[in-house]
């Protein structure tokens, strides 16, 4: 099995540089159907209107953090089934545990490489890495 090249990926990060990096790395995986937002609040409203197939989000954002976005997504009947990968510099054990409890699908610590991103996407999408 391979990744569905048409799947809609939603990326969220308050650093436009990181959004651009993610978009480029996703393009190298042939994932070109990508939408983006700079914060959790606008991301959530965009997702409600048009649910994506995969969410990749930073944690440390304002005013709505990635963790709050995750909780909102998991509490929303329309969105709760969507795989959610946290990509963050927050690497403390406590953070990972709380994200897991909130329903995160996988967790990538920054800085990361393209192979880690590919493997995690494959994992949460049920594709053999």
């Amino acid at each position: 099995m391979t990744l569905n090249k048409n799947m809609r990926v939603f990326i969220v990060d308050d650093y436009t540089t990181m959004l651009r990096i993610l978009r480029n790395l996703l393009r190298q995986l042939d994932l070109n159907n990508v939408e983006e937002a700079n914060d959790g609040d606008s991301a959530y409203h965009m997702m409600v209107k048009s649910p994506p197939d995969l969410i990749i989000s930073d944690w440390n954002m304002a005013p709505v953090t990635g963790l709050e976005l995750l909780r909102k997504v998991r509490a929303d009947a329309k969105l709760k089934h969507i795989p959610f990968i946290m990509v963050t510099a927050e690497s403390k054990t406590e953070n990972v545990i709380i994200a897991k409890q909130a329903g995160v699908s996988n967790y990538i610590v920054k800085p990361f490489n393209a192979e880690t991103l590919r493997a995690k996407i494959a994992s949460v999408c049920g594709v053999t890495a």
Binding site: T16, M18, I21, Q28, N60
Partner: protein, 196 residues
């Protein structure tokens, strides 16, 4: 003596109170008073010097300029590194487009190199978060200094407010850890797996 009846209620009053105590002690007929007076005089002199130095901060706007300028400089670094990272990625994207027109082997080599550039460009995100932490620390120091100066000025408050420790989800926002403390992806994976 009235040593206990006029105790100071504010920090700026403490020095005057101490001087009054010294004056009253000097009038006491006791052979042991000289040692006590000497100690109190020593304390009084130190309070005077400390108060003088701290009060000087009040009229010295350079401190505010120092903190403000440092924060601005650091924020400028974030802006400049973002600009540089975007220029690097402009170039990398151009290389990637050229790679698409080449034979498989050179194309793959160039694409691998471009991938490395994309990965390395994440330095801007990491350094940006670290600098933001430093800016916040500077702002906190500036606030504490202002509180300290205020405490020695016209009596408003003799207690600097203690910054509340973050609670709830806010305590989880620590930004990148120092490299020696940071968890590796393998650590995260192992932890994640262990959570079921």
């Amino acid at each position: 003596m009235t040593l206990t009846t006029n105790a100071p209620s504010r920090l700026p009053d403490a020095h005057g109170f101490l001087d009054r105590v010294i004056g009253e002690l000097r009038a006491v007929q006791s052979p042991q008073k000289d040692t006590l007076v000497a100690v109190l005089q020593y304390l009084s002199d130190h309070i005077r010097v400390t108060r003088s130095e701290i009060c000087a901060l009040r009229s010295d706007t350079s401190n505010q300029q120092l903190f403000g300028s440092s924060a601005d400089e650091l924020e400028e670094i974030v802006t400049e590194t973002a600009r540089a990272a975007n220029r690097i990625m402009d170039a990398a994207e151009a290389v990637e487009k050229v790679a698409a027109t080449l034979d498989a082997a050179p194309a793959a080599a160039l694409t691998d190199a471009v991938t490395n550039i994309y990965e390395a460009s994440s330095f801007q995100d990491i350094t940006g978060q670290r600098i933001t932490k430093v800016v916040r620390a500077l702002q906190a120091m500036e606030n504490k200094l202002a509180t300290l100066v205020g405490a020695f000025g016209p009596p408003e408050s003799d207690e600097a407010p203690v910054a509340a420790a973050p609670e709830g989800d806010a305590r989880l926002l620590n930004g990148p850890q120092l490299d020696k403390n940071a968890s590796r992806q393998t650590d995260i994976d192992a932890l994640f797996e262990s959570l079921g």
